[in-house]
Each structure stands twice: as C-alpha cells, then as structure tokens.
C-alpha cells in the first residue's frame, strides 16, 4: 500500500471537504431575488436582439446572411432585396426567439453592426407564436452601440447619394479612356 492510498483510506480529503462545505452554512447567499430585486445588466449584456440604424437613419442591415449562418440554432431567416437606391435590405428579417439561445454569435458575425443584443431579457410569452419577431419588431430608431459606423461609407459599391470613389479612403474613379499612365 503506497503512501497515497494510505492517505486516501483515512478519508482526510473527504472530511476536509465536508468541513469546507459546512462552513458555508454561515455565508450569505448570492442569489438575487428576481423579480423583486433587479440584477444589474451591463450594456453589452446579451438579451433581446435588435436591428439598428446608422446615424443617417438608414437601416444598417444589408441582408448579408452572416448572422443567419452563424446562428447555432438557425433561428434567423431573411431575404435580401436590392432597392432602387442601390442599397441592399432585408425584404423580411425574422428571428424566432422561441429558439434563440441569445449566444450573440449573430452580433459577432454582423459586418455592419446592424444586429445587436440588448440588456432586455424579459422575453416571456404565453403563446410561442408571439416570440416570432419580424423586421418591424426588431428594427429600432437608433444606432445602438458604435454610433458612428456606416457600412456604405466604407464600402466600394455605389448607392444613391454616394457614387463610385466617394467612400472613405477611396480615390475618384479612374477614367479608363484617359491617356494618363
């Protein structure tokens, strides 16, 4: 019988554990008595999902489908359309919150900061169907986090009011028929 198994057979470790546990009789409980007591939720807390707008009031979402593909429970469905102003938007954008696990992968995947999670966690409904949120339920009137970002100002495609070469860090379009080298 080696040293370890001798020690084990004395049950020292087990007794010590029990002593440590019993000491907790006199410590305060960490439980927050929700709903009487509201816990503090940080601004980056992962609660209800919203779609934000940029500072110009335009929808940030370009319906790129990255949130949908990142979603581990596949609860985001959308369809892209190209509007007359050249912007791409979601024709419909649906989140089935009865499936959502609020993991925030969609927010991480979003290249335009459009989809964001908010600290609102009170999402209970008596009817599951009410947990299906369409675009009009998701879209808010503000930029949420990252207030200054606007995707189309960074992007190379032309939209109404921003032609080719007018985005940030872009030179004016090259005149292909010009003779300058």
């Amino acid at each position: 019988m080696n040293k370890n198994s001798f020690k084990n057979s004395l049950l020292i470790s087990q007794l010590r554990t029990m002593w440590l546990v019993i000491k907790h009789t006199f410590t305060k409980a960490d439980t927050v008595q929700y709903p009487e007591q509201k816990p503090y939720l940080a601004p980056r807390y992962r609660g209800r999902i919203v779609l934000t707008r940029d500072h110009g009031g335009e929808e940030r979402c370009v319906a790129c489908n990255l949130c949908a593909v990142a979603c581990p429970v596949d609860c985001i469905a959308l369809q892209q359309v190209v509007d007359d102003d050249g912007r791409k938007r979601a024709d419909f954008f649906r989140i089935n919150f009865s499936r959502c696990i609020l993991c925030g992968f969609c927010e991480e995947a979003c290249p335009t900061y459009a989809i964001q999670l908010t600290p609102d966690v009170e999402l209970a409904e008596y009817d599951r169907q009410n947990l299906v949120y369409e675009k009009e339920h998701l879209l808010i009137n503000g930029p949420g986090k990252y207030p200054d970002y606007s995707f189309y100002q960074q992007s190379g495609i032309a939209i109404a009011g921003k032609g080719k070469g007018e985005a940030e860090q872009e030179r004016p379009p090259i005149d292909v028929k010009g003779l300058m080298p």
């Binding site: 029990m18 440590l20 409980a29 439980t31």
Partner: protein, 323 residues
C-alpha cells in the same frame, strides 16, 4: 380485538407521519444544499418554501401514469411498490420510544437486514422491466452494490449483538442505558453507516441512478406516481438508516440526565434521526461519486476486512471480559 385495532391505529399514524416526513425531507434537503451552496433553495411556496414538496407532489400526481410500451408491464408496476413496502415494513421493528413501536420482534435486527436485502428487488426489477439500457445498467449496479455491502452491514452490527446479546431492537436500546454503544463499537458504527448509505443509494454511492452516466439509472423510464414511490422509498430509506444508526449505536430514545427530562423520549429520538439525516445531506453536497469499480473494491477490500476485524476484536474483548 381492541388491542388489534389499537395496533392498526398505531400503524396508520406512523405511516401517516412517515410519508409527509419523507416529503418534508425533500424540502429540507433542497434548502440545506441551497444554503451550503450559497443559494436560498426553494423559498417561494408557503413560508420559507415548506410547501414546495407538496406542490411537487401535486404536480407529480397530475402527471400521466405512463408505462412504456416496450416494458414488462406487470413487473414495471410492481417494482416501485416492492421498494416502498420493504422500507415501510422495516419501520415495523423500529422502537420509536418506550411506548411507541409497531412490533417488538425478537429478531428485529434480522428482520431489518432481511427487508433491506429485499428492497434491492425493487431496483433490479425496475431495471429489468424498463427494457432500457440505462435502467438495466442501473439495476445491475444496484444488485452488485447491495450484495457487496449488505455482507459487512450484517457483520458490523454483530458487534452490537455480541455486546447486547439480543436481536431485539428494543432490548438493544435498553441495553444502552449505561452508555451508548458508539463508545465501544465506533468502528462498527462507521462500517454500518457507510453500508447504510450504499444500501439506500444515497450519494456518494448513488451509482444505480448516476445521472451523469445513466440518465437516471433504474428509474429512467419512470414518471408520475410510480416515480414518486421510488422517491418516497429513497427518502424513507434515509430515515430508516438514520433510525437504525440511532437505535443501534446512539441509544435510541435514551439520553443521559438531565437532558432526558427536558424533552419526551420520542422527540429525542427524532432529533437524533434528524442529525443523521443532515449528515447524509452534507455527504451529498460535498462528496463526489466514486467509480463503480472503486466502490466495489472499497467494499470488499477495505470494509469487509474491517468489519471482520471489528467482530473479532469485539469478541476477544468480550471473552476477556474487558467489555
């Protein structure tokens, strides 16, 4: 004839008290674990959440009495009943106080051991009848565990029998008027306690229902009332083992003076039992579950020799007249 009626009344009262007590025990356990884990535990239903168990009971009664189509219907139904009956029968021999106790059986201790062994049928049959791999594994484990541990459970209490010279539990209690047997039978008590935990499938020896490995072990397929019977059996089993420990090693209802006169003997008995129950709950909160091979090895390699040694030493000391 009236004596018979009185007895029946006594039995009814005991059962009527024991079953709600088992339910309360669930609440006590959850609250205690909560406290030890820095939580509150159930505290919403009734004052301090005492009615939680009854809410749970109501819910469980409202559930569908589901018998899986692939199971052996008769045995499946019989198994939880056997379990509950065996434990309840054991209480027949427990001397609660000088006046209370269903039966003053001469072989009370043997009856208890027999019933404890019978209870394993409940688990094995449940595992078999469920026709499910988890349940079957749970049942097999229960059988192996019970067979291993009841051997030295019996041996451990032989020391008590040696010293008191009787199998009658009431007489064993009375034999401790001068001093509790824990003094001389400390090792025996230790072995009995461990075997008792194993017999009642309590943590850390709950391998037959190890939820991390076997979903819920032998009662995987059970729900509703039948599941409640298993649950009842388990908590009554805890109470029974506590009661037996008190009776065998801690003097039953007896207390040294002046404590004895402060409270009636029955209450002292209950208090002692509650201490043991709390100890069982503490074990559950603090100790991890061993592997199954470790469990059996511990039983056969450590506990059995220890029990034999204890018996031998006790017998020697008895012969030499030291005890």
């Amino acid at each position: 004839m009236p004596e018979m009626l009185w007895k029946l009344l006594e039995i009814t009262i005991i059962i009527a008290l024991l079953i709600p007590m088992a339910a309360m025990l669930v609440w006590v356990e959850r609250r205690l674990i909560g406290i030890w884990q820095d939580r509150h535990g159930p505290n919403r239903v009734g004052p301090f959440g005492v009615l939680q168990s009854f809410a749970d009971l109501l819910k469980i009664l409202g559930k569908e009495d589901w018998v899986p189509p692939f199971s052996d219907r008769l045995v499946f139904t019989l198994a939880p009943i056997i379990g509950a009956i065996c434990v309840l029968m054991s209480f027949a021999v427990v001397p609660f106080s000088p006046d209370i106790g269903v039966s003053n059986l001469n072989i009370g201790l043997l009856f208890f051991l027999a019933m404890a062994s019978l209870a394993v049928y409940s688990v094995v049959l449940a595992g078999w009848a469920s026709n499910s791999k988890y349940a079957l594994l749970g049942g097999m484990r229960a059988a192996a565990q019970t067979v291993s541990y009841e051997v030295f459970m019996g041996l451990s209490v032989m020391g008590v029998v040696l010293l008191t010279g009787t199998f009658n539990l009431r007489e064993i209690v009375l034999a401790q008027t001068d001093g509790w047997l824990i003094q001389s039978q400390f090792v025996g008590f230790f072995i009995f306690l461990i075997a008792g935990i194993a017999e009642s499938h309590r943590l850390p020896f709950d391998l037959p229902e190890a939820e991390t490995e076997l979903t819920a072990g032998f009662h995987t397929e059970y729900s509703g009332l039948k599941f409640a019977l298993f649950f009842l059996g388990e908590y009554l089993g805890v109470t029974l083992i506590s009661a037996m420990s008190v009776v065998l090693f801690f003097g039953g209802w007896l207390m040294p003076e002046p404590l004895a006169s402060w409270l009636p003997p029955l209450l002292w008995f209950v208090i002692k039992i509650m201490c043991f129950v709390m100890f069982f709950i503490l074990l559950r909160t603090s100790l991890p579950r061993p592997r199954f091979d470790q469990l059996l090895k511990f039983g056969w390699m450590v506990m059995l020799p220890l029990a034999l040694l204890n018996l031998l030493v006790t017998a020697l000391l008895r012969l030499t007249g030291v005890l």
